[in-house]
Structure formats: structure tokens, C-alpha cells
Amino acid sequence: MEIIMSVAIGFLFMAAVYLMLSKSLIRIIIGTGLLSHGAHLLILTMGGLGGTAPPVVAEGVGIGDYVDPLPQALILTAIVISFAVTSFFLVLAYRAYQELGTDDMNLMRGIEDLD
């Protein structure tokens, strides 16, 4: 299971890097979404897979059977944050497209600032 998760995480990071290196702003935003999903899956995997019993003391459940609740709490926080940042990024991209008239990162260099 860990192997499958590792491959999935690696694939998400790879796709994210590929998308973020492109010119189009919307592809970059999708790339950042994939990147944060990869990071969240990484936390889940690093907490240890395989526990099935909820983290509540019960009879007949061994220590190894409990699921680790902490990674889930961490992911929940991180998901909310990445959701907020992504929505802000989308609004920002839309405004920038309206003002600057382009979504091509190559045309967004700060040329007039250069001395």
C-alpha cells in the first residue's frame, strides 16, 4: 500500500511541476492544487497506513490496530488553507487577466521596473 501511495504522490508532484512550468496562468494554478494534494497525501502516508480502529479506547483492539488521528487533523487544516489560497489565487489571476490583458507568464515580466 505504501508503495502505491508513494507512486501516487510522486506522480502528483511530477504533474504539478510540469504544470507550474508552463506559461498559462490557469495551468499554473491547477499545478499548485496538485502540489498541495501531493503534500497532503504525503502526510497521510507518513502517519502510517493500516490502522482501522478509530482512536478511541475499546475492548479487543490491539495497539497496532488504531489509526493515527494526528495526520488527519493536520490534513484537514492544510486542506482548508490550500483551498483558501487557491480560491484567492483564482480571483487574483482573473483580476490580473482583466488588468494586464494576458495570462501568459512570459508577458508578465517586470520590464518597466528595470533601471
Binding site: 502516508t45 507518513m46 493536520l74 488553507i81
Partner: protein, 493 residues
């Protein structure tokens, strides 16, 4: 258990939340912003007195014992930084009245500033590495808002890059936290400091330490990762720039200081030597930028990068002089960067441009401004009685006592370049032929100048009265050098 250390986080949050209800009422916005920032500052003063007498304060939220619940911990280092951050925010609020423009003030400017303070103070106070990530996000979210606030074309263009860099570094932060959790099984900083020495495979921990260095390095703008800073900080107006320059990079520096002294000490040959080398490269890269540009804002922006390098070099030495110097220089740099941006903002407002080539002859019409600027510039470069000197002296002494005497030599040499870069502003803007200036009303000028003058006076006091502050600084250094003080306070063993 005392909740006092939560006040610098909660007070600005409360006041910012109140302000959200009536964005159009300018007078109320200003009053509440000043009240919030001053109350935060007063709370930080009380906290400083408490930490000074009773040692490290720690709160576990919800009364869950330390490794399980979320811990907030405040030692002398963090309370000194909280104090400086609150003070600077207060001054930025005063300075904003005239400079930021009514349009911006009416669209949630002050709430964003106070939310930024929430994130900064929280990041300084937290004792849990995942919570550090959360507070980073709080301050980043407010900084995204501030950097794009007003929606001018350069702001929109640069904030996209700023946002992208920070989203990537946040994802790396989450990944680094995941690795750390998988190796140690805990995220509480004090607990990490206990568990990490027990782990025998230091290789993986060294990798994680370097990964954290990359993550915090993005925020702190260290050598290869500072590329986003000059253009992003150039876009927003001066008060926001002063706030960012004084606070944001320092949070990254603080995080590196905390993690690299408290728990990533298992393989200092690799990690701290790497940190020292990167710090020196950061200084050199910053000097190149500071000397290359003929733009007052750009020159000061590159000086942020130089200061980050100087502080981190002090941290990398891991001896008493180096750490104490780094702490002193960190506090000094927060104050002096805010002052310099304030003064540069006034100069840019008078000339209507930030290009040095179109300036000249200001000393005849604004002599006091000129001499204040010169004092601030000397303070930045570390001319002896002023505030840059004691910190830099200790850092250089730390380098000579440690293995990196060459680093100290570089810092000594580059101090001259720093001086050259800021005195160049003085020479171009204040000397020479007077050029046409934009008439500035007396009240507007004084509302901009008086906060700057008071802050300069504070930096001079910090420098001249360095002996007064040394007990605090060395107390803060003690906690960093002896993590057991911090661990005992948090875990209550």
C-alpha cells in the same frame, strides 16, 4: 499556567475582526487600528516583564499535556521579537495615515495589517511546528492581500509571482513536516528536541533539516531563494513595504534560528556549515544588488537580504557571541529597516520618483530629514554608537571564536559596501543641484516625518543604551544555547 502570552496574538485578531464591520468609517478605522496595535504592544511589554522574572512561559491549549495538545511557548527571544513587531506595526499605522491614501484605507487596509501582526506574533510564539505552518499561512494570507492592495498593474503582476513562490514553499513545508513526523512521531518542538538526539540514523534528519532550511529560506530570502523578493517588495506602496521589510523575512529568520538551535543539532558539521556558507553568499548577493540599482527602494530592499545573511551567519556559529549578536542584530534590523523605508518614502514622495538620478539638493529645503536619514544610514551600516554596531561586533566575534573567521572578514568588508550603498542615497538625494520637487503640505510632511523621527530615536537609544538591553539579549541567547531550559518549561519535567 498563564494566558498572558496569548494576548499579543488575540488582541490584534479581535480588533481586526471588529474593524471588518465598518470599512468606510475612516476615523473609526484609524482609532481602532491604533488602539489595537498599542494594546498589543502593552501586552507584549507585560509579557516581557513576566518572562524576564519567571522564565519561559508555556500554555497548552485545552489543557492537554505538552506533546499531545497545541503548545504556545514564549521565551525571551520570542517575546523580544513580538515586542519589536508590535512596535513597528504601531508606527506603520501612524505612518499610513498620510501615505497610503484614503481609497486604500477604506478597503480593509488596517484589518489586513493587524491580521499580519496576528500571524507574525503567532509564528514567534508557537511551540509546535505544524502550528508554525498555520501561523505562516495566516501572515502570508494577509501579505497576499496587502501586496495586491489597490490593484495597480505592477502590483497584480508581482503578487502572482509572490503568491506562486509562497504556495510552493508552503507545500514543501507540509512535506517536510510529514517527513519529520514519520521519523520522530511528534511535532511539538520541545518534544522534538528530546526525541531527535535519541534517533541514531542522523542521515535522514540531516535531509529534513536541509529541507526545512529551504522552506524557511524562501520566507527569509536566503541566497538562491531570494529571487522573488526584490521585484515583489518593489510593487506595493511604502508603508506596506516597510511592514514587509521589517517583519516578513524576520519570521523566516526566526524559524531558522529556532529549529537550528533547538533540535536540528545532530549533524552541525553539515547543516551549520551549509548555513554559514549560504549566509555569506546571501550577504554578497545582497551587496551586488544594493550597489547595482539607482533606485532608493531597490537599494534598501537589497539591504534586507544583506541583513538576513549577517543574522544567519551569527546563528550558524552556535557560540554565545554569535547567537547573542544574531538576536541583537535581528531586533536592530527590524527597527532600522522600518525607519529607512519610512524616510525613503518621504524622499520619494517629495521628488515624486524613486529614481536616484532624478533627485538632488534636498539638504537645503529639508535639513532635518537629511540628518535623520544619515543617522539611520549609519545605524544600518553599524557605525559605533548606533544600534547596528553591538550586534555586528558580537556576530564577528562569534565568527572569529568559531571556525569561520573568513566569514567575519567578509562581513567586515561588506559593512563598508552597505555604508556605501546607503550613503549613495544621501549623496544623490540631499547633495548636488536642487531639482524640482512636489510641494508637500506641512501637516502631511510632519505626519510622515514624526513617526520616522521617533523610530530613529528609538534605534539610537537601542544602540547607545546597548548595555541596558544586553541582559535581555544574553538571556534570550541562553535559551537558544541550552535547549533544556525551553524543554523543561514546555514539558514540565
Amino acid at each position: 499556567m498563564i494566558n498572558l502570552l496569548l494576548f499579543p496574538v488575540i488582541i490584534p485578531l479581535l480588533f481586526a475582526a471588529i474593524m471588518l464591520f465598518f470599512p468606510k468609517n475612516l476615523l473609526m478605522q484609524r482609532t481602532i487600528a491604533v488602539a489595537g496595535a498599542s494594546l498589543t504592544f502593552i501586552a507584549a511589554l507585560f509579557l516581557l516583564a513576566k518572562v524576564k522574572t519567571d522564565g519561559v512561559q508555556a500554555v497548552t491549549l485545552g489543557n492537554w499535556d505538552a506533546p499531545f495538545g497545541i503548545t504556545m511557548a514564549s521565551d525571551l527571544l520570542s517575546v523580544l521579537l513580538v515586542l519589536s513587531a508590535s512596535l513597528i506595526t504601531l508606527f506603520v499605522v501612524f505612518y499610513s495615515f498620510q501615505t497610503i491614501g484614503v481609497e486604500r484605507e477604506r478597503s480593509y487596509y488596517y484589518p489586513a495589517v493587524l491580521f499580519l501582526l496576528v500571524g507574525v506574533n503567532g509564528a514567534f510564539t508557537t511551540g509546535d511546528i505544524f502550528n508554525l505552518f498555520v501561523f505562516f499561512e495566516v501572515l502570508l494570507m494577509s501579505s497576499y492581500m496587502l501586496i495586491v492592495h489597490g490593484g495597480e498593474k505592477p502590483q497584480l503582476r508581482e503578487s502572482i509571482k509572490y503568491l506562486l513562490v509562497n504556495v510552493i514553499s508552503s507545500a514543501l513545508f507540509v512535506a517536510a513536516v510529514a517527513f519529520l513526523y514519520s521519523v520522530t512521531g511528534t511535532l511539538n518542538m520541545a518534544d522534538l528536541a528530546v526525541k531527535i538526539p535519541q534517533i541514531e540514523q542522523t542521515g535522514i534528519l540531516t535531509v529534513i533539516a536541509v529541507m526545512f532550511l529551504v522552506v524557511f529560506g524562501f520566507k527569509a530570502a536566503i541566497f538562491p531563494l531570494y529571487f522573488w523578493l526584490p521585484s515583489s517588495y518593489y510593487a506595493p506602496p511604502i508603508p506596506i513595504l516597510a511592514l514587509f521589510g521589517a517583519l516578513l523575512t524576520k519570521v523566516g529568520v526566526y524559524a531558522i534560528m529556532r529549529t537550528y538551535t533547538l533540535f536540528f543539532t545532530m549533524n552541525t558539521d553539515v547543516t551549520h556549515q551549509l548555513l554559514a556558507a549560504i549566509a555569506i553568499l546571501t550577504i554578497l548577493a545582497g551587496c551586488v544588488g544594493a550597489l547595482a540599482y539607482f533606485d532608493v527602494k531597490k537599494i534598501i530592499i537589497y539591504n534586507i537580504i544583506i541583513a538576513v545573511g549577517v543574522i544567519l551567519f551569527g546563528v550558524s556559529q552556535m557560540n554565545e557571541a554569535g547567537i547573542d549578536g544574531a538576536i541583537f542584530y535581528l531586533v536592530h534590523d527590524m527597527l532600522i529597516k522600518a525607519v529607512l523605508f519610512f524616510l525613503v518614502g518621504i524622499v520619494a514622495a517629495i521628488f515624486g520618483t524613486s529614481n536616484l538620478r532624478e533627485m538632488g539638493g534636498l539638504i537645503k529645503t529639508y535639513p532635518v530629514l537629511g540628518w535623520t536619514f544619515l543617522i539611520a544610514a549609519f545605524g544600518l551600516a553599524g557605525i559605533p554608537p548606533l544600534s547596528g554596531f553591538p550586534g555586528k561586533l558580537l556576530i564577528i566575534q562569534g565568527g572569529f571564536e568559531g571556525e569561520n573567521f573568513w566569514g567575519s572578514l567578509v562581513i567586515l568588508a561588506t559593512s563598508l559596501l552597505v555604508l556605501l550603498s546607503v550613503v549613495r542615497i544621501f549623496v544623490y538625494a540631499f547633495w548636488g543641484e536642487p531639482v524640482k520637487t512636489i510641494p508637500l503640505s506641512k501637516s502631511a510632511y510632519y505626519q510622515m516625518f514624526i513617526p520616522s523621527l521617533v523610530l530613529v530615536a528609538i534605534t539610537v537609544f537601542v544602540g547607545v543604551g546597548a548595555e541596558l538591553f544586553m541582559p535581555l539579549i544574553s538571556g534570550a541567547g541562553d535559551v537558544l544555547l541550552n535547549p533544556s531550559i525551553y524543554i523543561d518549561a514546555v514539558l514540565k519535567e
